[in-house]
Structure formats: C-alpha cells, structure tokens
C-alpha cells in the first residue's frame, strides 16, 4: 500500500473547500486543496460585504482552537496552514483506486512567472499591452493579460492569462528580476499524480448567464448588470464616477433609480430551473441597503420579487430594516420585460403590479439577481466510496455553506475511521488534572462529548462522533429520546428517527441519561466538568466538548385564533387529523391555511422554515385524496427555498389557491353563527373575500425550548427569542462564544428535519476537530497579568469575548484561562494601567514618536 502524501484531497478552493480543509487540518490530517482559479476564496473574493451585518468577516473561517497552526491573516490574501497544501490553476484529470488509496492525476497550468524571483513590483502588468475584460468585475472593468488574481493576493505575484496573452514579450523586457523566461511564455500544462485517502469535491456555484435569454436584454445595454457585477460596482474599489461622464469602460454613472430583478434563472421552468436559489433575495436586499448607505437618501431603490425568502433567523429583521430604515421599495411582481428607455442607457422595466395591472417604470440600472445554474460537476469522476461530492443545487448563503461543508467533513472522518485508514490519535483520557499550563502550552483533554438534547440534531451528532470512535454522553430532559419525534406523522421521518434512537441505544460508545438535566458546569474546551441530575442522583461528567441541541417546539397556545373554534386548528393538528379516517369521511369542501400566524413580526420576528412546506404537503395530501376539496393558502412569502420550490410548483399545478397578504392586513378569523369565517383580501380581484371553510389550519411556527437555565449555567448567550446565539452567525454558525461549546439544530434557529440532521453532523465534525488529537494547545500569545497593579475593576472580564478571564474570589484577583484565551488583546486594550499586557508588544514607542516633539 502506498502511503498517501495527503490524507484528503479537496477540489474547490471556495469557502466550503477552505472550511473543510481547515477542519480536517485541525484534526491533524494533511490536506491538498486543488483550485481551478489562481486564488483560493472563490466567489467570496468578489463580494466585499455580507449580510446581515454588512461587513466582511472572511477571516472568521479560521478556527479559534489550536489557531497557531494557521497564519491568522485576512483570507482575501490567502490561506496559510501548516497542514494544507494548495495547488492553484489546477484541476483533477482522473481518479483511480479506492478509499484509502486513491491516485489522482492533476493538471496544473503554470502562472508563467517564477515565484522565486518575482518581487511583486508589477512592471510586467504596466508593460503588458493587452486589455481584456476582467472576469473579477464581471466585465465591468478591463485588465491586462498579466494580472493579480485577486486584489489582495499574497504574495502579490501576478499570473499570465494565456488566453489573452499574445506572447509579445514586453513583460519579459520589463521585468527587472528576470522572473519571466522567454520559454515560460507558452502554456505548458503539467500533469502529476497525488496519492490520497479520500476526495472531497466542491463544485462551487455557477451563476445563470442572463445573456441566454432575450428577456433581460443583458449584454445589450451596459446598465443591465448581474448582481456580482453590481457587487464590484459597490465595492470600495468601485468603478463608478460621480460625474456625468458618459460611459467609458471604466466608469458608470450614479443613477437616480436602481431596480433589482429577482429570480433570474431561478424558479422558472422556461429556463429549466424549477428550484429557488435561496440566497439571492438577501443578496439583493443587502445590495440595496449598501447602496443606500453609500449613496445617500436620494437614490430610489426597488426590488422586484416573487417571494422574499428571508427564512434564516435574523433575516426577517433585516428585511424590515431594509424597508423601514433604508427605504428599499419592495414590489411583489415578476418583471415582464426590460426595454431601452427614453434617455441614453435608461431602461423601461415593465411589471405586473400586485393589483394585476401592467406598469412601466424608468430605471437607471437593472441588477439581475442571477440564480445558480446547475451543471453536472466533475464528469471525469465516477462517484464511489471515499469520494464526497457536495450538493450543488441552489446558492447557499455563507452559514449554510459552513454547515454543509462541515457536515460532509464529518462523513469523511467517519469513513476514514471506520475503514481503519485513520484512527483518532487520542491516547486515552487524562487521569488527573495536570498542573497549570501557560500560553502556547498543550494540555490533555477528555475525549468524550456531552450532548444536551436527544432530538434529531443531538442524536445524529452523537452517532457521528461515536462512529468516528470517540465516546459520547447524551442527556435528555424527557424520559425517552427523540425530541419532537412522537408528534411526527411523516412515516419516513418516523422511521428515520426510530433507527437513530435504536442505533444510539445500542452503540457501545454512547451513554444515555434520560430524564436528566444539567445543574452545574465549569471548565474550558477539552476539559469540561458538568454535573447532571438523573433520578435525583447527581452525576459528574467529564468531557471535552458540548453540543447544545435542546431543540424547539411548536407554539402551543400563544397564537391568534387559539381556542376560537374546534375547527380552527394548528397545522400540526391538521397533519394528525389527515391520518384519521373521519377527516376524509366528512368530505370537507374547503380547507383554509393561514401562514405566518403570530410569526415574522415582533415579538417572534423570524421565519420558522417548516410551516410553508408543511402546509404545501398537507395541501397536496388533501388534493390527492380528495381532489374536490378546495385548499386556500393565505401567505406572506412562500418560504420554499432550494428544491422545496418544486413542492410549491406541484401544489399550484394541483390547483391549490394561493392568496398573498401583507402584515397588518392579515386575514381575519371570526365566528359567525357559531361557525368560523375567514375574511381576507384578494389582491387580484381587489376585493374582500369571505370564506367559510370546514377546517382552518394555522401555521403557528416554532419556539425554542426554554433555554434560560442552560444559558445561565453554561454562560452561552441567547437571542431575544430564546434561541442560543452563535459567536458568528455567518462564519461560525454552530460555535458559541465559548470554544468547545457547539450549538446544533433548532436550539440555534428553526430548521427542517433534514437540516437539523445536517447540523448534527456538522456539530459532530466541530467536536471531532477539537478532540481528535490527544492534546489541545492554548494560544501562543496570551496576556500577562500583573496583580500588583490591578485595581480589579473587572473591565477586562467584561471586555473578554471568550470568557477567558475569571476573578479568583479567594485571592480577589483576576486569573486567566489560557485554554479559552484567543490572544486577541482586548483585555490589555481596556486595562488602563497595564495591569494586563500583551507580551512582545512591538512598536510600543510608536505612539510616543507620534505625540511628542
């Protein structure tokens, strides 16, 4: 057997690939990252701002545990990790072998410039006579044939675009370092072989090309641009001129009105895409908000949408803010056509208003929110065990990408552990606590993971960790495992859960305590001690990581319409009734479903994600069994993102009637002569509709199980709705602010069943990443404390984002937990008299020079 040079080969250097590479590298595995383009970072390099906080945050991809293995630098510059080898401008040609011993042929296109000699001076670029449209700006700008792959690449070495290069040799003459050889000026693809145990493929996303249809006039008018181009336009290096200098290639005029056209290449059977690309709604909202922030109140911003899919926990708030605070005009309408307008490069956008009338409006710029254009990825590779291909439907936003790629990573670790290729290097639990350790030192850790909550996410993560070979303790508040499963009526889900419960109960590495609850907790990543109470007996559990999977439940009583009439029921009750014969025996003539009951408005201003799909499925069941029954769904935005859009399509085809409504004009429920009546508004007919259905189903949404107690004991923040809050909702959606404390499933945000399973898997990978190695290492640089100077004002404790500082009540002084400390230096920054300092503070004198003369 050949020893693999790299344990895992990852193809695709976008954020998903980077995330997986980092997780695996932190487990101590060697990773080879193969990227097609000249720089890693993928599409995110083109996007400077990310919703919902509108900043960058790319660096948060870097792990906080054992961080010193990785260069802590801006990821726009590049990725530098001791366990990750990167091949850019490379692609997989073929794969042979099987799990544990793959041989991969990789072709690499040379950059043309000798990295050993290049000083990054840029003379070659200045000398190059070629101008070619710059794909980085989506064609808004031109670049040379020798260019910097990304604005901040490090080292700042240019590469040659062989397609554009005419081999004139000007760059060779211009280069003062002789870094370009005459012989280099030919594209000579090299091919070499790599050995690897497993392969992960992240095809990334390919945006729909709007030039494929006449509908949007893309390519015919320079002011019709794609959302990626607009993002470049907005960036700090933007290509906009404030003056009215007309269209040269390098400038665009600041328009008075900008329109976003949603669902370009998505949700459109004419284009062959029956799915929703999921992230475009938020991308457009973000762009509108950023435009407002950058260009002030005078610009008119309009988004034409079909359903505004703000289905993640904080996105509804973002939408509200965009509308109310940033005055983004949202119009529910599919754009009919875009035509040349009255002025030069102006545009007529014609659309059908919600009232059904056709209207035409002039805009300066139309931004096409292009969806994903799925292509069969990697035709050269035959799927087999050991090759993991990421699902490439739709566009995932960053958080979902992180979760998805981490989940796949856990499958890789599990497979490699199962097939004996890799074993955890774990050498057994520490027997007794080692003496205090300082910064940069390693410390032994406990190998087990404590999972709080035995529902879908908790069970799945427990199984994954156990299957990878590390012990797990699951505690569940209820007597039986399964979370909300007892209320499931979907036979497949039920079966799925039963299997997981069985597997967990019989796995030798899984210990289950139920009913049990947490009563006390202390420690830090790798060395937690938690006391639980099971049958009035206190049990001490020592563990290295925690996964919080306490789940959510449906709103039970606190919703409008509760108790109005026996025929006004929640969608969960309807689901149950559909399984009973009397429902069908009564031959209902009409069923009305109300979406977003009590949801997506304060105090529960978030989408529960499950309700739209559930209503659609219920409607389809009704239509299937009783086609005569009329089903009317009153909705705000159908949240059928991704492939669930197909169910929405199907429901429309089956004749389910959909009636949109807006907040404050909700359909009213009342009793008339003892019977429930729904009074709504039909926007097309523009009149009141009054329905007297047999059943009214209310989509009441999800709320988290009470978390206050755990939040207090574990020191993990909750949001205003009671969900646990991640340290970074985009880049570290499953990590809490405390290293080693992970959040998965509905405890974090409302999720669908399969999404909760995925989060369970992802959280498992995060726990494995921490515990796979025998010893954890504290950050190299952590602050020094000088108690003699300290006034114990507690400023540092309040400022520390990692809860790494504690007060020792006996000595009445501040102490540092080097394992939790990330070396950020905030404590030293807030300490007024240097009672806490960061060691090796360079350039301490700089400030003196600055101020004194």
């Amino acid at each position: 057997m050949t020893v693999p040079k790299s344990d895992i080969l990852i193809s695709g250097g976008g954020i998903a690939g980077i995330r997986s590479a980092l997780t695996l590298a932190e487990c101590g595995l060697n990773v080879l990252l193969v990227e097609n383009s000249p720089a890693v970072g993928g599409m995110l390099l083109q996007l400077d701002h990310q919703f919902p906080n509108n900043n960058c945050g790319l660096c948060r991809l870097l792990y906080s545990a054992d961080r010193d293995n990785c260069e802590q630098t801006c990821l726009r510059k590049g990725l530098f990790h001791s366990h990750i080898r990167i091949l850019t401008r490379s692609a997989i040609q073929s794969v042979e072998g099987s799990v544990g011993r793959f041989t991969v042929r990789i072709s690499t296109v040379p950059g043309g410039i000798d990295p050993e000699r290049c000083t990054g001076c840029g003379s070659c670029e200045a000398a190059c006579p070629i101008e070619t449209p710059d794909p980085f700006s989506n064609g808004l700008k031109h670049r040379k044939a020798v260019y910097l792959p990304a604005p901040h690449s490090m080292p700042d070495q240019r590469v040659i675009d062989w397609k554009a290069c005419t081999q004139c040799g000007d760059c060779i003459t211009a280069c003062p370092a002789d870094a370009i050889h005459p012989t280099a000026l030919a594209e000579t693809e090299t091919i070499h072989e790599e050995q690897t145990a497993a392969i992960m493929l992240f095809p990334g996303l390919k945006l729909y090309n709007p030039a494929l249809t006449d509908l949007y006039q893309y390519g015919k008018n320079p002011n019709i641009i794609t959302s990626v181009a607009f993002e470049r336009w907005l960036s700090s290096t933007r290509i906009i001129s404030d003056e009215n200098t007309d269209n040269s290639n390098n400038s665009m005029v600041l328009p008075q009105k900008i329109a976003w056209v949603q669902c370009v290449g998505s949700r459109n059977l004419n284009f062959g895409t029956d799915i929703c690309s999921s992230a475009c709604c938020m991308i457009s909202l973000k762009q509108a908000v950023l435009t407002r922030q950058k260009f002030g109140p005078d610009i008119q911003l309009t988004v034409f949408y079909m359903d505004l899919r703000t289905y993640q926990k904080t996105y509804q708030q973002y939408r509200d803010q965009a509308e109310q605070e940033f005055h983004v005009n949202l119009i529910r309408s599919r754009v009919h056509s875009i035509e040349p307008g009255p002025g030069h490069n102006d545009l007529y956008i014609s659309f059908v208003t919600p009232e059904g009338t056709r209207q035409e409006e002039v805009f300066g710029i139309a931004v096409l929110a292009c969806g994903n254009h799925p292509e069969p990825p990697y035709p050269q590779i035959t799927p087999q065990e050991g090759i993991f291909i990421a699902d490439h439907e739709g566009i995932r936003d960053i958080a979902e990408t992180m979760i998805h790629s981490t989940a796949i990573t856990s499958r890789v670790i599990r497979l490699l552990a199962k097939s004996g290729v890799l074993k955890p290097t774990f050498s057994g639990d520490i027997k007794k606590l080692e003496p205090a350790f300082g910064s940069g030192q390693s410390y032994g850790s406990y190998s087990s993971t404590l999972i709080i909550g035995g529902g879908a996410a908790g069970l799945r993560s427990g199984l994954v960790i156990a299957q990878a070979g590390l012990p797990v303790t699951i505690i569940e508040q209820q007597p039986a495992l399964g979370g909300g499963y007892h209320n499931f009526h979907d036979p497949e889900l039920k079966r799925n859960m039963e299997q997981m419960i069985q597997a967990a109960q019989h796995h030798e590495l899984i210990q289950i305590h139920a009913p049990a609850s947490v009563i006390a907790h202390q420690g830090f990543a790798g060395r937690f001690e938690t006391r639980i109470l099971e049958n009035q007996v206190e049990i001490l559990i020592r563990h290295g990581a925690i996964i919080l999977a306490t789940g959510a439940r449906s709103v039970s009583t606190d919703y409008p319409g509760n108790g109005l009439h026996e025929r006004v029921i929640t969608q969960f009750e309807l689901e149950q009734r559909l399984t009973q014969p009397d429902f069908w025996a009564s031959q209902p003539s009409q069923v009305v479903m109300l979406q977003c009951v009590g949801m997506r408005q304060p105090p529960r201003n978030y989408c529960s994600r499950i309700c739209c799909l559930k209503s659609l499925k219920l409607a389809l069941t009704i239509k299937e069994k009783s086609p005569e029954t009329e089903v009317v769904i009153f909705f705000r935005d159908m949240m059928t993102y991704g492939s669930s859009e197909r169910i929405y399509h199907q429901a429309r085809r089956q004749g389910v009637i959909f009636m949109p409504y807006i907040p404050n004009h909700e359909p009213q429920l009342k009793l008339e002569q003892g019977k429930p009546v729904v009074q709504g508004y039909d926007p097309v007919l523009q009149e009141e509709v009054r329905l007297t259905p047999d059943w009214i189903s209310l989509a009441v949404g999800l709320v988290p199980f009470p978390t206050d107690n755990l939040s207090r004991i574990l020191g993990i923040r909750c949001d205003s709705y009671g969900f646990f809050e991640a340290s970074d909702p985009k880049w570290r959606p499953l990590e809490s602010e405390r290293t080693g404390v992970l959040i998965a499933g509905c405890a974090r945000a409302p999720l669908r069943f399969e999404e909760a399973l995925l989060e369970g898997e992802a959280a498992a990978a995060a726990a494995l990443q921490l515990l796979w190695k025998p010893r954890l290492k504290s950050a190299r640089q952590s602050p020094q404390l000088r108690p003699a100077l300290c006034s114990v004002c507690l400023a540092c404790i309040k400022a520390c984002p990692f809860q790494a500082r504690i007060i020792n009540p006996e000595l009445y002084r501040i102490e540092l937990n080097p394992a939790a400390c990330q070396g950020c230096g905030l404590c030293a920054a807030v300490c007024p008299n240097s009672a806490t300092i960061m060691p090796d503070q360079a350039d301490q004198d700089a400030i003196f020079d600055l101020l004194e003369n």
């Binding site: 906080n53 509108n54 922030q293 003699a788 100077l789 300290c790 006034s791 114990v792 004002c793 507690l794 400023a795 309040k798 400022a799 984002p801 807030v830 007024p832 008299n833 240097s834 009672a835 300092i837 301490q844 004198d845 400030i847 003196f848 020079d849 101020l851 004194e852 003369n853």
Partner: protein, 364 residues
C-alpha cells in the same frame, strides 16, 4: 418617595441637618456618617467620618469648601462589606463619581446611604481661607449672600448638574429660605425608610424652588456653552493642545485629584513609561529638542482616553494644577464629545454599562 418634606431650621439650617444625622446615628439607622466637618487641626472643613453623635457638632454640612472630591474616600469606606451602614453626605459631582466607581467595581453601594446636597458650587481652598473670617456663620452667609457665591470656581459656575441624582435622600437647599426651612426627599426605598427616623413633620410644596433651579440652570448653561466654545477654539489641532499643556510638570496632581481615575497604580508610574535614556535621546534627536519631563502630552491624552467617558466635571483637576493649566476646561470639552458619541451620561445610572466595554454586534 419623591415627596418633599419640610425641615424647620429655626435660623440654623446647619444645626438642623446635623441633628438629623445625629438622630440617624443614635437610632442606629446608620453606624457611621461621612460629612464635611472641622477636625482638631484643620482650617477648612474636610470630609470626616463620624461615629459618635456628640462629635457631630463640628460637622459643617453647608460649607462651600470641598478640598477634594470626596468620592474616592467614600468608595474606600465601602470598598467591601464591613458590616457597617454608612451615611455619605455628598455633593452631586461626588455622587456621580461614586456611581462611576461602583461600575468599576471599586465599591458597592449596598451598605451606603447617599445623602445628596443641592450645590451652589465650591470655593477654592486658598480663596476660602481668605474669605472665611469666622467659621461660625460663614457657610450660612455663603448660601444667603450672592456676593460670596461669586467666588465659586470656574467649573462650578458653569455646572448644570448641581441637583443631586442617585441619592437615597436629597437635601433641598436651592430655592429655600434656609433660615426657616429646608426640604428633604427620598429617592429610593432605603431613603424613604431612613427619612422616617428623621420624621420631618410637614409636607410642603415649594414651587418657587423649581423656578429658581431652572433659572440657575439656564444661567449656568449659557456660561458652560460659552466656556466650552472658548476651549474648543483653543484646542483645535495637536499643536494647540500641546501649547495649552506646555507648562505641565507631570506632577500628576490632576490625576490624584480626579475622582474617577481609579487605578491602584497609575500606568505612568510603571515601567511602561520608564524609558531607557537611549529612547529619550532618540526622541530628542528626532526633534532637535525634547521638553522634560517627557510624555506630558501622552499623559493627558491617556487620561482622556481612559476616563473621558466618566468625567463628572467636578473641576478638581484644575484646582490642583500648580501651572494653572485649565485642565478641567480641556477635559470637559473632550469628555462632552466622547459622552455625546456614546450617549453616555456618567453617574446617571449605576446599571448603565461603560460604553467602552460594550460589544455592539449590530453596528452597521
């Protein structure tokens, strides 16, 4: 709460107040009282700790003397629970400082009963000594004689926060004819319970007091704004600032006098600023000359950075400056901007977090 009760003074308001405090001690409502008072050898009333009601005859509650901001001393008495209840008689700026110190974990208000005085301002120690020919009646004369009131410090004359907030009991003085009566009101449950010991009989509405307070506030506000503008004009760029503090000796008096400069040991006394000679020489060479002691600019800027948000505008930093640098004017001008930027009002609310220690993840 908040009802103003009237305390008859029978021509001696100081004594009336002292009687109240004595009563608190006798009835064990509190164990100790901290109030301004004459000590055997002091020419000015100093913050004094009284345990014995009989000794309280030397207290001078209404004195315009405030040799230093008493908040630091008060905080040191309630630094940790010591099983005693303390009544702390303080001026509004001293209470504000005490609240800031509480936020900084330098003391706990659990065992403290804050008695806040309406404040007309204080007179600098030296001036007070020349004015104060007779100890006996000077304090009352000060309250009754506008001519004497003109001697208050520049900072006090432009202070608009002269009514105590966050006190358990407020002593209403402004707008009262002190020879006949003063007002007492409670701001907390604790204050309300304590007032029952004092038991002032009458509830009286003094509408003229509110009018008088408002008039004074307007007057002071005008002065404050004028002074701020004047200082801001002088502050301008770094050179202007350096010109303003050119005479600074690094005596650190201002830092010592500052009630919210709370460090056990100032960073300027640590090794951080104990430069090796080479560094000093290098700096000298760079600019061809170097003012000694060095780091005076950095000293003031550092103080502004550390506690600018917490400046309670008591003005003691100016009072103690041997070089007559208008430290308080300067500090106040900067602090006001900082406080405005963070919407922070020092001393307003003990539960309000210190702005520099808050993470706002929602910031755009």
């Amino acid at each position: 709460m908040n009802t103003v009760l009237e305390l008859k003074t029978a021509n001696d308001p100081a004594q009336a107040l002292v009687s109240c405090l004595q009563k608190l001690l006798t009835e064990k409502a509190v164990d100790l009282v901290m109030a301004p008072g004459y000590n055997p050898h002091s020419a000015l009333p100093m913050p004094t700790l009284f345990a014995d009601p009989a000794a309280m005859s030397s207290a001078d509650i209404l004195t315009p003397a405030a040799p230093f901001n008493a908040a630091r001393q008060a905080a040191s008495l309630i630094r940790q629970p010591a099983g005693k209840q303390l009544a702390l008689v303080l001026r509004p700026c001293e209470i504000r400082a005490l609240i800031e110190l509480t936020k900084l974990n330098q003391c706990s208000l659990d065992n403290a009963l804050i008695i806040g005085l309406d404040c007309l301002g204080r007179i600098e120690n030296k001036i007070l000594k020349t004015l104060q020919t007779d100890q006996e009646n000077f304090s009352l004369r000060f309250w009754q004689n506008p001519d004497l009131q003109r001697h208050i410090t520049k900072t006090c004359a432009s202070c608009v926060q002269f009514i105590p907030i966050n006190s358990d009991i407020r002593v209403h003085l402004i707008g009262y004819d002190l020879s006949t009566a003063i007002g007492l009101s409670s701001g907390t449950e604790k204050g309300l319970a304590t007032l029952k010991h004092i038991d002032p009989s009458v509830t009286a509405e003094n509408t003229s007091a509110a009018i008088e307070i408002e008039q004074l506030r307007q007057q002071r506000l005008q002065r404050r704004e004028a002074l701020m503008q004047e200082t801001e004009e002088k502050l301008g760029v770094m050179e202007d600032f350096q010109a303003m503090i050119a005479d600074c000796l690094n005596c650190y008096n201002c830092r010592t006098a500052c009630p919210v400069c709370y460090c056990k040991e100032c960073v300027f006394l640590t090794d951080v600023f104990r430069h090796p000679p080479e560094i000093i020489f290098r700096r000298c060479q760079k600019n061809s000359l170097l003012k000694l002691p060095p780091d005076t600019t950095l000293f003031h800027i550092t103080r502004m950075t550390h506690i600018g948000h917490a400046c309670v505008e008591c003005g003691h930093c100016s009072s103690v400056c041997p070089s007559d640098i208008p430290v308080a004017d300067m500090f106040r001008a900067v602090s006001a901007r900082v406080q405005e930027a963070y919407h922070y009002q020092p001393g307003a609310d003990v539960a309000e977090p210190i702005p520099t220690l808050c993470f706002d993840t929602e910031l755009p």
